[in-house]
Symmetry: none
Subunit: 212 residues, 4 copies
């Protein structure tokens, strides 16, 4: 029955950026960047329009913060962990793809990737930001794994650049599917993402396998 010692005001202040970021993620994913109104983000976070701009200087910066928090961070973490993976490269690749899905693709945050594809043309600066902080790091990671497999003799001397896309394409596809289909009336014959990823990874690993 006794009140907590921390003042209401203070406690809230520390939470604001997080609350705003969360509200922004929801709305950006739901409606896209351009269609999301700054005031709506604020209202969903329980503050007024002015308060949003107290913490983020513009809608674009808010978006970048959302990307950093929800997209770039998991990617970066994944990269760190991948470096410590014990096991052969085929297993690593499969593990990476699955892990990417579990930590990112399956979450609300992956809606950001879908959104970026739609709006990149109209917001070049955001597109560059996303490319720099998300896409390029991810590609580098995949490249590393593929090269590791080739050097260890596990994979043939495949075309690394194109294979990177063979790895990433189904992941992107899943994300598109997830966020585009959500609007469809029926659930249709749903893909089972983890199963598909496992399947696809096996196909790739077999396809890249050294030996006649």
């Amino acid at each position: 029955m006794s009140e907590p010692l921390t003042h209401k005001r203070e406690r809230r202040k520390q939470d604001r950026p997080g609350e705003l970021l969360e509200a922004a993620l929801d709305l950006f994913v739901e409606k896209g960047f351009a269609a999301t109104r700054a005031e709506e983000v604020a209202l969903r976070a329980g503050v007024s329009k002015g308060t949003l701009f107290l913490y983020f200087p513009s809608k674009e910066e808010l978006f970048k913060a959302v990307v950093m928090e929800n997209v770039a961070r998991p990617v970066a973490e994944g990269i760190t962990e991948a470096a410590q993976f014990k096991g052969n490269s085929g297993e690593l690749l499969t593990w990476m793809m699955l892990e990417w899905w579990r930590r990112y693709g399956a979450t609300k945050a992956s809606g950001i990737s879908k959104l970026m594809m739609s709006e990149a043309g109209n917001f070049p600066e955001l597109a560059d930001f996303f490319r720099t902080n998300v896409i390029l790091p991810a590609q580098s990671l995949v490249r590393l794994v593929l090269q590791r497999g080739i050097e260890s003799g596990e994979f043939r001397a495949i075309d690394v650049d194109n294979t990177i896309y063979s790895v990433m394409a189904p992941l992107i596809f899943l994300v598109m599917e997830k966020h585009a289909t959500s609007a469809c009336s029926a659930t249709h014959t749903a893909i089972h993402p983890e199963q598909f990823i496992t399947h696809h990874a096996q196909l790739l690993v077999r396809g890249m396998a050294a030996g006649h």
Copy 2:
């Protein structure tokens, strides 16, 4: 006092909707739905802003009409032709993917697919239409080819449903790439689509190959 039966004016009038649809296709693909201004569509079609709204009651209806008009045909044609292909299933798969790219993916019309994915959330009816008339038929076609390869002993008894996505994902991915990256600042490490498709198809065929 009587005028000639066919004046230029009358012929033009009948073409109006088609000209508007064409102009709208160009602009929607180029700039997306929200960023395309109604007046620009009208101007490109050579009519005034008011005239556009004479033929389409709103920008949304115009968008729907553009999608409906441009999406169903190429798919239907592709399906017909694939049925007549002679050769083994691996070759057929590779040919199909390449051909799909050449006839559809590489053209302006593929912008429609990208649009659909981007805007599906805002146009549920369109999403349904698209799924029914484009995605499902395409899946059926791929399924046919895979089953043919399994039955002939060329492929292992792979998981057909998931493999369908392994086939389609990179194609969708290419389309997204093509239309999203066009606006990016530099050309970056550009994908070469046909090369990538060939590469990916080979990976898949190898991956599906009945082992020794």
Copy 3:
């Protein structure tokens, strides 16, 4: 009792820019550039906010148009006429100053000059525009007259640059007085502008006069 042949719409369209310009002049003079709201200009001109931007792409451009119409034009006309003046340079100078007052200083439009002084710091582009189109031409004109007087032997070899300011300062002063005092409660000991100008001009001409 019969209606005019011209359509209402058409007639109004041609009048719009003028009506808007007039409303804008009133409001800019009354409240300054920053404090004048675009919508208020439109409303005073009897149109909606959107219509204003149909004719002027921005508030700044509207302001420039007001300057061109109400300030630069009379200055330019004055320059043309001054070139045709018959009479000695002292008379010309006096005539010019009086004429400037009658045609510009005494009118509402001179409020623009006052406004420019207040807001130049906050709107550098407008300040440059004003300097280029109003101040510099006016200075050139005065310089010409002074040089004419020196060459003809009517004036001593005075410092032309500084004298230009001796000519212009009281005119600017009058304008400030006129627009600043308008807000004062009482009329106080009002300056009589034309009388003052005549007086000041005589002082200057005497001061510049050749002969010991």
Copy 4:
């Protein structure tokens, strides 16, 4: 248990209004009334935004206080000293004008005069105060000097009222110039104030000189 009688805190507290006034003077002069943000004033005075409103109920009242504080003193001082000047009236006039510039026009405080003229329309009480306490006393002083010159036979029986303006106009003009042009892109053909004043004063003195 008792604290020392004078702690730092208390001394600071008493200075607060003065510090705020000083900061406000700087900023109002530099950027004008509307463009000066309340928070910036507070920050420059080393207090928080809220504190400003503790001492001044609104930005407008702050502005009024700044004007009241900075405007009356220098004028009063100048008047006292002028009464003690030895020398002929032409020299006195020149000296007064130069001295006014050095002590007031050239200083930050002259920005107040400019502010007054710019904002007079929005602050009628200030305009009245300014006229009563600054302009009229200054006019009286100039009148005295002119009358002294006439009585001594040094000047003709000129129109004193108008000549007062001939004396003051260039000074006002210089102040406007100084504070308005500071923001302009280039230095243009800069006026040299003391040189111009000397020049103008000579022109006036010659113009007023009792001729042969």
